[in-house]
C-alpha cells in the first residue's frame, strides 16, 4: 500500500507559484478587453443628488460611465449572504457607506479608467451617519435576516438567569473586538465576457459553483449558460467567499460595452469593497461553584452591521456547544452603522466569541484560584450539550495535555506578575477553541489513465491552503500511485461541483469526494482485471485485490500483480473514470461534529515600555486525520499568526464622525511582520475520524484561528495583573 496521506508532501503548485507560472485571475487575458474603475462614494450616508460624468466621458479612452441612472437592470437580487450585499450595485441613489460604488468607468486601459474615475463629479445630499458601534448600540436588535443561518440568533437551555443568581461565584464582564480586515495579497479581480447569452467569468472566487448560481440569478440565466473559473486565489481568508458587488459589475459592464471587461479593485477597495470582520461588544456572565463547575453562562454579543444587511457575526454561536453547563443563554444582535456589510473572515463568529468566553473563563480561574487548564477540564463536554449526541473524534483533553506539556505549563507560577526576567514581565496564558464542523455536498471524478497516472477533476479552488496537494495525496493513496502521478483540474464550473473553499470544508467534504472517486476508479480497475483472462488477477475475489505501486495485486499474494499501465493498455482502455459524490449525513449522522484546539502563549512585556511580545505559542488541534503534515502545520501557523495580529495590532478604526475607515490601506492597517513572530509550535493529536466522513479528516483552516486572542490576553494578565478586555492589546492599554 502506498502511504501518501499525512506525508509532508511539498505543494504541487509551489514551483509554478514561485516561478510566475501559476496563472491567477489577474493574469488571464482576453482579446479586446476593456477595463473598469469603480468610483466610491465620498460620503458615508445620504443620497447621490446627481453625478456629472461629462468630463470623465470625454477623457481619453473612455467607453462609458455607468451610474444608477443609466445602468441596465439586473434580473433579480440573488440571495445573501453568498451574495455579499442585499442590494445590487448601483441599485439607486442611496449611500450606505463610504466607498460604496456609485459609478463605473470603462475605458480602453486600466490607467485611462483610473484617471477618468477621478473626473467623475458627484453631488451628494448628506444625512447624518451612524459612525460607530457605540453610537448604534442603543438600537441593537436580533437580526431579521440571520447572517449565515448556521446558528440561531438566540439559544436557551435551562434558566440561565436563575441559575446564575443561585451560583456561589459570579462574574460579569464586557469584551470588545475591533473591526478587522482580511488584507489578502491579491485584490479581487473579475474578467467577464459574453458570447451571445453565454457568460464566461474569471473571478478570484473561493467558490465557483456557489457564485455561479448567484451570477446566473442576477442576469436571469440558467446556470449552465454561465461558466465561472477561479484558477488560483492569492489569499482570501474569507473575503472571496461571498460575491461582492464588483463580481456583478464586470458582466454588467461587459454587456454595456459589448466587450470583455476586467474589474480589479484597488488596494483600498480591498478594505471597503470585500467585507471585514465586524466589531463586537460582548457581555459574558458566568456562574460557578467554588470547585469550578460552571452552572450558568450568558453570552450576549452585538456586532455592527450595515444599513443594507443584518449580517450576524456569530460570536456566541459556538458557546452553547463548548462546555458542560446546564443553563445557557446565548444571544446575538446587530446594530446598524454607516459602514459596509461584514463578510466571513477566518474564523467567522468564533474568533471574536472565543476571545470573550475564554477570557472570562480565565478570569474565573483566577477568581477561584484554580489552574485555567483544570477549570476547562472540569467543564469538559463529553457529549454535545446541545444535541446530546456523542462527539465524533473529540480529543480536546489530549490537546490540553499535549500542548501544556510541550509548552512547559508546569513551570507557570500562579501569581500574576510573579514571573520576571530582568526588565521583562513574563506571562503564560492559555485558551481553548472550538469550531463546529460543517459539511457540504462535494463531487469529484478521478480518471485513471493507461499511463499509470490519474487526473482529479473537481471545482475546488486553491486559495493557498494546500488543498490541491492534500487532495492529490488522497487520490494517490486510494489508487496506489505516487503523488507526482496525480494531476488536478480545478476551479472551474465545467468540472464536477466540489464544496466551496471556505468554512473548512476542503479536507472533510472535498477530500471525501476525491476519496470516493478514487475508490470508484479502483473498483473499475479491479473489475477489469478480475474479468480479464490475461490478467494475473483473473478470477480473483475483487475484495482481495488492492492498489499497490501503480497497479493492483492480491492482498496476500504479492506475486499476483500487474500495473495499471499493462492492464489498461492490454484492454485498450485509455482511462477509467471513478465518480465521487459526498453527501453529508447532516442531522442523521448520530454524531456531533466539531474541531477543537488548545493554545498556550508566552508573552514578554518590558515593564517600562509595555509592548507585548509573543515569544512562544504552542497549539494542539483535534481535527481527525492530518492529510499532510507540512501543509497542515503551515495552515495552522498561518491561522495563529493571523490572530496574533488581531490580538496585538489590527484594528480598522472608524472615523468618529463619518464612520468611514480611517486607514483602509496597508500603510496603517498593520498585520504582523516576520519580526513580530516568535516560535509557533503546532501539534495534532488526531487519529482518523471516520464517523465524520469517509476520509476521516476534519477542517483545520478555521479552528487554527480560534482562541489565540484570549490566550494572549490571558498571558498578558498573568504577566502584568492587568486584564485587557478590548482588542487589540496595544501598549497604551497597559500603561
Amino acid at each position: 500500500m502506498t502511504v501518501a496521506i499525512g506525508e509532508p508532501v511539498r505543494r504541487v503548485e509551489a514551483r509554478d507559484k514561485v516561478t510566475g507560472g501559476a496563472r491567477y485571475t489577474e493574469d488571464v487575458r482576453a482579446a479586446d478587453t476593456a477595463y473598469a474603475a469603480l468610483v466610491g462614494s465620498a460620503i458615508s450616508a445620504g443620497r447621490v443628488r446627481s453625478i456629472d460624468a461629462r468630463q470623465a466621458e470625454r477623457a481619453p479612452g473612455v467607453l462609458t460611465v455607468i451610474t444608477h441612472t443609466n445602468r441596465p437592470d439586473f434580473a433579480a437580487q440573488p440571495p445573501t449572504p453568498y451574495t455579499a450585499e442585499g442590494r445590487m450595485p448601483l441599485a439607486d441613489d442611496r449611500i450606505h457607506y463610504a466607498g460604496q460604488y456609485i459609478a463605473v468607468v470603462v475605458a480602453e486601459t486600466q490607467e485611462q479608467a483610473d484617471h477618468a474615475a477621478t473626473l467623475v463629479q458627484a453631488d451628494y445630499q448628506r444625512t447624518s451617519p451612524v459612525p460607530t458601534l457605540d453610537a448604534a448600540l442603543p438600537a441593537a436588535y436580533i437580526p431579521r435576516q440571520n447572517g449565515l443561518v448556521r446558528f440561531p440568533s438566540e439559544y436557551r437551555r435551562g434558566h440561565a438567569e436563575t441559575a446564575l443568581a443561585a451560583s456561589p461565584v459570579r462574574l460579569e464582564q464586557e469584551y470588545r473586538t475591533a473591526t478587522l480586515s482580511h488584507a489578502p495579497m491579491e485584490p479581487s479581480s473579475t474578467l467577464a465576457y459574453w458570447e451571445g447569452d453565454r457568460l464566461t467569468i474569471y473571478d478570484s472566487s473561493q467558490a465557483v459553483h456557489t457564485h455561479r448560481a448567484l451570477v446566473a440569478t442576477a442576469f436571469g440565466l440558467p446556470e449552465d449558460r454561465v461558466r465561472m473559473i477561479s484558477s488560483f486565489v492569492g489569499g482570501g481568508f474569507g473575503n472571496k467567499s461571498f460575491a461582492w458587488p464588483h463580481v456583478f459589475i464586470a458582466p454588467m459592464a461587459a454587456r454595456v460595452v459589448r466587450r470583455p471587461v476586467r474589474v480589479t479593485i484597488s488596494r483600498k477597495q480591498v478594505f471597503t469593497g470585500t467585507g471585514h470582520m465586524a466589531a463586537t461588544v460582548q457581555a459574558v456572565r458566568l456562574g460557578a461553584d467554588r470547585e469550578g463547575r460552571l452552572r450558568a453562562l450568558i453570552h450576549d454579543s452585538t456586532n455592527q452591521t450595515s444599513f443594507i444587511d443584518d449580517r450576524q457575526e456569530g460570536a456566541a454561536g459556538t458557546t452553547p456547544y463548548m462546555y458542560a453547563i446546564p443553563d445557557v443563554y446565548a444571544r446575538m444582535r446587530v446594530a446598524k452603522v454607516s459602514t459596509g456589510t461584514g463578510g466571513a473572515m477566518r474564523t467567522p463568529g468564533d474568533s471574536a466569541g472565543a476571545f470573550a468566553l475564554e477570557s472570562a473563563l480565565d478570569e474565573l480561574a483566577y477568581k477561584i484560584g484554580m489552574d485555567p487548564v483544570e477549570l476547562r477540564r472540569r467543564n469538559h463536554a463529553d457529549t454535545d450539550p446541545v444535541s446530546g449526541r456523542p462527539w465524533s473524534g473529540k480529543r480536546l483533553l489530549a490537546c490540553y495535555e499535549q500542548a501544556a506539556e510541550r509548552f512547559g505549563w508546569d513551570r507557570r507560577k500562579a501569581e500574576p506578575g510573579s514571573m520576571r526576567d530582568g526588565d521583562d514581565l513574563v506571562g503564560y496564558g492559555m485558551a481553548g477553541g472550538q469550531r463546529m464542523e460543517h459539511q457540504s455536498r462535494a463531487r469529484a471524478t478521478v480518471h485513471l489513465s493507461d499511463e499509470g497516472t490519474a487526473v482529479i477533476r473537481s471545482s475546488t479552488v486553491e486559495i493557498g491552503g494546500g488543498g490541491l496537494t492534500t487532495l492529490s495525496q488522497v487520490a494517490a493513496e486510494g489508487l496506489g500511485l505516487p503523488v507526482g502521478a496525480v494531476t488536478f483540474e480545478h476551479g472551474d464550473t465545467d468540472l464536477p461541483a466540489s464544496s466551496p473553499t471556505f468554512g473548512s470544508l476542503t479536507s472533510g467534504s472535498a477530500g471525501s469526494a476525491v476519496r470516493l472517486a478514487a475508490q470508484d476508479a479502483l473498483r473499475a480497475a479491479i473489475e477489469l482485471a478480475v474479468g480479464d483472462r490475461r490478467s494475473p488477477l483473473h478470477g480473483a475475489d475483487p475484495d482481495d485485490v488492492v492498489a499497490h505501486e501503480s497497479g493492483l495485486r492480491l492482498r496476500d499474494r504479492p506475486d499476483r500483480a500487474e500495473s495499471y499501465r499493462e492492464l489498461l493498455r492490454r484492454n485498450r482502455v485509455n482511462s477509467l473514470r471513478g465518480d465521487g459524490d459526498f453527501q453529508p449525513a447532516g442531522e442523521t449522522a448520530g454524531y456531533a461534529m466539531a474541531t477543537f484546539g488548545a493554545h498556550f502563549t508566552e508573552v514578554r512585556i518590558n515593564r517600562h515600555l509595555p509592548r507585548v511580545r509573543v515569544v512562544r505559542h504552542v497549539a494542539a488541534f483535534s481535527i481527525g486525520r492530518v492529510l499532510n503534515a507540512r501543509t497542515a502545520r503551515n495552515q495552522a501557523q498561518g491561522g495563529i499568526i493571523m490572530r496574533l495580529g488581531a490580538a496585538l495590532m489590527e484594528s480598522q478604526r472608524p472615523d468618529p464622525v463619518s464612520g468611514r475607515f480611517i486607514s483602509p490601506a496597508l500603510t496603517d492597517y498593520h498585520v504582523p511582520v516576520n519580526a513580530d513572530i516568535g516560535e509557533v509550535d503546532v501539534l495534532f493529536v488526531g487519529e482518523p475520524d471516520t464517523n465524520a466522513n469517509p476520509l476521516g479528516a476534519r477542517g483545520l483552516g478555521e479552528i487554527s484561528a480560534v482562541g489565540i486572542c484570549a490566550s494572549v490576553a490571558n498571558a498578558v494578565y498573568h504577566a502584568t495583573g492587568r486584564r485587557v478586555r478590548s482588542l487589540p492589546i496595544t501598549p497604551d492599554k497597559l500603561l
Binding site: 517600562h608 500603510t667 498593520h670 511582520v673 519580526a675 496595544t730
Partner: protein, 291 residues
C-alpha cells in the same frame, strides 16, 4: 503630468526655478505613495536621480561630513555607520530592504514628516541642511530651523535640498524607536541622543511626538550641567529619571491611529533613559580605556 530629468545640479535648479510647482523625486518612496493615494497631482515631477553629486558624500576641510541628499539609507548603513552611528541606526529601522535601497535622507527632509527617522539623529548631531536655488545660491539651515510644521520645511519654492553637513560623531550616539510592530513601521515615537564629550554636552532629537521633530533643549541643558564627563561612574537613577521627564515634557504629542499622546510621552521618557544609559556606558568604557 510632466516628467523632468535634469542631468546636472545646475539644470535641476534651473528647472525648479522655472517650474516651482514641480515636485522633486529622489527615491520616490514618499512621492509615489502620495500620488497613488491621490494626495496630490503635481503638474510635473523633477527626477533628481540623474544628478550625480547628490548621490555622493565627502569629508569637508573642517572634518565635517557632507552627505548628498540622494544617498540612500542602504549606503548610510554600509558606508557611514562608523562616522554617523545615530543616523545609521535610524536608517536600519526604516521600512524594508527595498525602501532602504531607494529611500534617502534628502527625501526624508523633503517630506518633513514629524515621524521621519532621520530627523532625531540630525538634530542630536547638530546637522546643517544645505539648500540651494538658482537665484540666491546656497543657504545653510540648521536642522532645528528646518522643520516648520507637519510636513512643512524651510524650503522656498525654487529651492532644492543639496546635502546635509554634520560633524563626525565625537562620542557615542544612540537612536531608538517604538513602532506598532517590529518592522515596516512609521515611528509611534523615536529618540536620539548624541554625546559630544569634547564639548561636554549631549544633543537630543525627538521624533513623532510633536508637529515637528525637535530637540529637548531643557533636557540637553540639564545634562550639560549634571553629567560628570571626567568620571567613569554609572549614571545616577535620579539623573536618568529627570532626563526622561524632561524629554517627555519637551514633546507635544497627539492621539492618532498609531498611538495615544499619553503613551508617546511615557515611551519617550523610557527611550531617553535607555539611549542615554547605553551611550553613557559606552562613554565610560572609552574613558576607562584611555585612563
Amino acid at each position: 503630468m510632466e516628467f523632468l530629468r535634469p542631468q546636472t545640479w545646475a539644470e535641476a535648479l534651473a528647472a525648479k526655478a522655472e517650474l516651482p510647482g514641480a515636485v522633486p523625486i529622489q527615491g520616490g518612496t514618499d512621492v509615489m505613495v502620495e500620488i497613488n493615494f491621490d494626495v496630490r497631482r503635481p503638474p510635473a515631477l523633477l527626477d533628481l536621480t540623474r544628478v550625480a553629486e547628490l548621490a555622493r558624500w565627502s569629508a569637508e576641510p573642517d572634518g565635517r561630513l557632507r552627505v548628498g541628499a540622494g544617498v540612500p539609507y542602504a549606503r548610510v548603513i554600509s558606508e557611514l555607520a562608523d562616522r554617523l552611528p545615530g543616523l545609521a541606526q535610524a536608517a536600519r529601522t526604516v521600512g524594508s530592504p527595498q525602501i532602504r535601497n531607494r529611500g534617502t535622507v534628502g527625501g526624508n527632509l523633503g517630506a518633513a514628516s514629524p515621524a521621519g527617522d532621520s530627523h532625531p539623529p540630525l538634530l542630536a548631531c547638530g546637522a546643517v541642511i544645505e539648500v540651494e536655488s538658482a537665484a540666491r545660491g546656497v543657504r545653510a539651515v540648521p536642522a532645528e530651523e528646518f522643520y516648520l510644521g507637519v510636513k512643512r520645511n524651510a524650503l522656498e519654492p525654487d529651492e532644492l535640498i543639496k546635502a546635509f553637513v554634520t560633524p563626525v560623531a565625537g562620542g557615542p550616539q544612540y537612536f531608538s524607536k517604538v513602532g506598532t510592530r517590529n518592522a515596516m513601521v512609521i515611528a509611534v515615537c523615536s529618540f536620539c541622543v548624541a554625546l559630544h564629550p569634547a564639548e561636554r554636552r549631549a544633543g537630543t532629537g525627538i521624533g513623532s511626538a510633536a508637529p515637528v521633530p525637535l530637540r529637548a533643549l531643557a533636557a540637553e541643558e540639564f545634562l550639560a550641567a549634571e553629567l560628570d564627563w571626567a568620571g567613569t561612574a554609572p549614571l545616577a537613577p535620579a539623573l536618568l529619571t529627570r532626563f526622561g521627564e524632561l524629554v517627555g515634557a519637551a514633546a507635544a504629542p497627539i492621539d492618532d491611529v498609531r498611538g495615544t499622546a499619553a503613551y508617546r510621552r511615557h515611551a519617550l521618557s523610557v527611550l531617553a533613559r535607555r539611549t542615554l544609559t547605553w551611550a553613557w556606558n559606552d562613554h565610560r568604557k572609552a574613558a576607562e580605556r584611555c585612563a
